[in-house]
């Protein structure tokens, strides 16, 4: 009886996925993501060359040997783009994990407890939130210096308030929902209410914000490394390669600018499509808000 029920639900979701435009959107997004995640994990196997070694003449235009051409130091751009997925995804995931790991619990507690603690924390988070994210990240990245963890931390600081705010606002409104009051009337303990009644209700928005933020984090990382504040060269990094490629466009070497850029665009597109679709599938009311 129960089994049938679950499988029915899954069937419905899959059905929705392909019948509606939303489903298609999510599916394409997920495929793009899967593609880049595969690239990132299997970069050594997929990439034709060592991304930080000189393998050809400098600034070779795309040809059979170097499908995306080479950069000014004769490194294979295709390999660098493939390896670049590693850095981009790693930083994005670490950043988002840190942000979520800090923002979500704080948001839950702050929203549930309320009072002065909540007010102070909200004020601080709002202050950070209102501040232009990239500028904040620039400042922190400049302070911390290069390195995967440092960059992730700078980005995480920017996104922590997003989680906090989303969670806190939801929790504090869910807190006054009737079903929470009903749970209290039943005599449930605080942590039970938080875990059984409130958390499941904020989970969908967490998932959506999470995938939305991954896209933003990749973008921010690219921005930072474009400004020269990201990962130290020669590590392959889309943002850095882009700004490096920019130096040679007047020498007609457009490929150094085009491919890393396309990589950023497609991966961010993948994430946004995925999160947009997810958003509509999981929570039809939230989409109207953003």
């Amino acid at each position: 009886m129960r089994k049938k029920f679950v499988s029915e639900r899954i069937g419905e979701i899959i059905n929705d996925l392909f019948k509606t435009g939303t489903g298609l959107l999510t599916f394409i997004g997920a495929m793009i993501l899967l593609f880049y995640i595969t690239l990132a994990i299997f970069a050594p196997q997929i990439a034709p060359y060592n991304p930080i070694e000189r393998v050809g003449r400098s600034l070779t235009s795309p040809n059979d040997q170097f499908v995306f051409g080479t950069d000014n130091l004769g490194r294979d751009i295709l390999s660098r783009v493939i390896y670049g997925a590693r850095i981009a995804l790693t930083i994005a995931f670490i950043a988002v994990l840190i942000a979520a790991g800090v923002g979500i619990p704080l948001g839950l507690v702050s929203g549930y407890l309320g009072g002065a603690f909540d007010r102070v924390l909200t004020l601080i988070m709002d202050a950070i939130y209102s501040f232009p994210g990239l500028i904040l990240a620039i400042a922190i990245a400049a302070v911390l210096g290069p390195g995967v963890v440092n960059i992730s931390v700078s980005i995480a600081v920017v996104y922590t308030p997003t989680y906090f705010r989303v969670i806190r606002n939801q929790v504090s409104s869910i807190k006054s929902e009737l079903y929470v009051e009903a749970a209290r009337a039943l005599g449930a303990k605080n942590y039970e209410i938080l875990l059984k009644y409130i958390f499941p209700n904020v989970l969908p928005s967490i998932v959506v914000v999470l995938s939305m933020n991954l896209a933003d984090a990749i973008m921010t990382e690219a921005g930072l490394s474009f400004l020269g504040l990201g990962i130290a060269p020669p590590t392959p990094d889309w943002g850095f390669d882009l700004s490096n490629g920019q130096r040679f466009v007047l020498s007609k070497a457009w490929w150094g600018l085009l491919y890393p850029g396309l990589a950023i665009v497609t991966v961010v597109l993948g994430f946004s499509m995925f999160s947009e679709g997810l958003n509509e599938l999981l929570n039809p009311t939230i989409r109207e808000r953003r």
Binding site: G21, P132, L134, A139, F226, G239, W254
Partner: protein, 335 residues
């Protein structure tokens, strides 16, 4: 609550916000591992000189004293002195701010026009091809990094077609008497049409870049909120009274859609500023965004701090202004 007391409340509410921002900036920037003094003096200075400089900048005092000095100075309008140029940071920002303002206003207008009309029409034709195109547009543009879009536009219109210049605000040979710093305004005030068209040419690519990127978010907000408003009873009621569809769409749905949009506009503005940093860098736009990047390159510590403080103040002021405008648009806030 009257509008006046609303404004007072709003301004008072900004104080803790400013304070938190200032504290945040102070502590982030004071843990810079690189010593700003050494950055100024390079490797050639003897130790006594370094000590003297450190004293001069107040870096030898206890952190807490430094903190109160800093807060005090900020409120006196003293953002410190750039170690790179030895000018008061405030003066340097004053020089550069109009450029940023001009760029952001211009892009904002572009984003507003695109977002407003495209978004409203898309909402009106929900799920029709125009709406789908709007959604594709917004999701696609959102995914394009502003610097890459900038570079691509530069490549196309600047390098290959040579229609527009790729950087700066004014051609070297064009002279213009600068009063406000907003060159468009200045050229109009001077009746200098040569300068006007030159300024506009320079403004177009960066403004478009930033405007397009911001428009994607704007478009989405307008569309979604308008869709929401169109489903409201008062829209149906308006329709039942025989109002024309344009009036219903723009006079009722879009206007009401702007109420929630206004409240998140502050955030949008922050986004605009962040985008401005990258756009200014790509287009050599001499605003505070590129100023900040430059100063970070040279680790010009007081200038970095001053600029960030300025950004913070700017953000706070904008959010106050937006809230007040919001109160003007939405009477519910006032009463």
């Amino acid at each position: 609550m009257s509008l006046k007391s609303y404004i007072i409340t709003r301004v008072i509410l900004a104080i803790p916000m400013i304070f938190i921002l200032l504290v945040m900036i102070f502590f982030i920037l004071r843990i810079i591992p690189g010593d700003p003094v050494l950055a100024i003096l390079g490797g050639k200075a003897p130790l006594e000189v370094i000590e003297a400089k450190r004293h001069e900048l107040g870096l030898d005092k206890p952190v807490i004293v430094q903190f109160f000095d800093y807060i005090g100075n900020v409120f006196r309008g003293d953002l410190g002195v750039s170690t790179l140029t030895n000018r008061p940071v405030w003066d340097e920002i004053k020089d550069r701010f109009p450029a940023t303002l001009e760029l952001t206003i211009f892009s904002f207008i572009i984003a507003l026009l695109i977002g407003l009309f495209y978004g409203a029409e898309a909402a009106w034709r929900k799920d029709k091809s125009l709406d789908i195109s709007a959604r594709v547009y917004s999701i696609l543009l959102y995914a394009i990094p502003v610097f890459w879009l900038g570079l691509m536009l530069q490549l196309l219109f600047g390098v290959y077609l040579r229609w527009f210049p790729v950087g700066g605000r004014l051609s070297p040979r064009v002279s213009l008497d600068i009063k406000t710093g907003l060159l468009i305004l200045d050229s109009v005030l001077n009746w200098n049409w040569e300068a006007f068209s030159d300024v506009l040419k320079h403004l177009l690519l960066p403004g478009l870049t930033l405007g397009l990127v911001i428009s994607s978010i704007f478009l989405r907000m307008v569309r979604n909120n308008t869709v929401l408003m169109l489903s409201k009873d008062f829209v149906k009621a308006a329709k039942a009274r025989g109002l024309k569809s344009r009036v219903i769409l723009y006079g009722h749905a879009v206007k009401n859609a702007f109420v929630p949009i206004f409240t998140i506009m502050g955030m949008q503005f922050a986004l605009l500023l962040a985008g401005a940093v990258l756009t200014e860098t790509t287009f050599s736009w001499p605003g505070i965004g590129s100023y900040l990047v430059l100063k970070i390159k040279y680790r010009d510590f007081p200038a970095i701090q001053g600029t960030i403080v300025f950004f913070a103040m700017f953000v706070v002021v904008i959010s106050i202004v937006i809230d007040i405008v919001n109160a003007l648009v939405d009477p519910r806030v006032r009463y």
